[in-house]
Amino acid sequence: MASSRLLCLCPASWSTPILVRFFEWFGDFGRFCGRLARTGFAPPYEREEFVHQLSEVGARSLLLVGLAGAATGVVFSLEARDSLLRFGAKPLLPTIIVLSILKESGPIITGLIVSGRVGASIGAELAAMKVTEQLDAIEASAVDLYKYLVATRVLACVLMLPLLTVAADFCGVVMGWVATTLTDPIPLRLFVNSGFARVGFNDLLPATLKTAVFGLIIGLVACFEGMRARGGTAGVERAAASSVVYASIFIILADVVLVRIILVFFP
């Protein structure tokens, strides 16, 4: 009795120990992914829905991602300038700003922002459709949910994430220059030239493309959480929240692994 109490940490379900729920979650999630892989990507394709989702994902997050990127650029410029001055390495400032944005901050910030914005909205959308029987209605019309709803959203996230990352990188670098030039005037051309002088293919491409994995995580987790929602309005709210929480955690964990892999293959 007392020991079972101790195991039950999560108020959502007092009856099942958290460890069991943890494994159940992964089991269900694995089945969900398997089902998607089996039927989701077979023709005929849902082109219209896919294009719609591309624009939704892009439009919903572009402004936020741009703002977050810009803010990061400013912060880097301020912080790095201070540190570099101490070592008398101020000429390195553009390189430091560009490198840290392109290699890490741009991608991870984009992943987290999109998981908050798009993950929540996909999770809530599908959950609302679930609790109002719209998912049942789609299935009753002999349409595969995995093809119509899941594959389109997951693919849209996978494709849009790298593009949004480029947008975040761009805003970051430009605002990094603006913040730098306010204290130490430097022409944009010079800033970019010296900033990118030591940046190579291995810095740029793997870091940008790894965000496709973040997109995959966001799409899969949000669709999964949305489709298994139950229990009316509260269920919709739970699905939206857990989409964001799980997607963000998995993105951070995936980033650790991906950075390690990229270091091995693109030294």
């Binding site: 109002t132 789609i138 009753a140 002999a142 349409v143």
Partner: protein
Amino acid sequence: MNAATPQAAVQVQSVHKSFGAQHVLDGVDLQVAQGETLAILGQSGTGKSVLLKLIIGLQQPDTGSIRIHGQEVAGSDMRKMNELRQKIGFVFQSAALYDSMTVEENVAFPLKRHAQLSDADRRTRVQELLASVGMEEALGKMPDEISGGMKKRVGLARALALAPDILLFDEPTTGLDPITSAEIGELILKLQRERKVASIIVTHDVQVARMVADRLALLRDGRILITGTFEDLKNSHDAFASKFLSSAWQG
């Protein structure tokens, strides 16, 4: 494949379904021939909606068999399942319209995917379908801009889109005024006459059941308590059956 005996359109055999400890269906048997209309009556919460969802494979029975034109529903793969579902129209209790689409797009949804029609032909077909339920004016409206009864009728038009052989209605007239209810009843009768559809109608509305159904079935305690014509049930010695009918049928 057994060509000698006429196949039932829908055949349900000793189907059991529980949710956790709650036994909702406890050995349901029923059978509907092509061209026949069966009304299922029963108190709220007896599992009528669950039964319809089992028939179209939205939920799986714990045990028992459900056949559509002789083909087993439970356990068939996705492709076969979808072939079966194209022959079935389902009218949801809650209408379940897609709330991000207009009325027109709702009705066009199954047509877009399963009927080889040009855009113009599809438009015409959608207009015909909406006209047949008296909703042609609502074409461009969103579901949250129309009333509950109108949603029901759009849901019916959507269910009819692929010209199904089998129709499953979950409370098609609940919440509608008597005149609209009678109109929906007429529509069901017309479908039955002209297209020989097999229908299962879950309803509390005994008048509509009497009007459209060849047979009535009373669901109680997870089983079909009694089936027969309206008169059979009314005159039956089963106290519950006659009470159920007479309490709903004040005349």
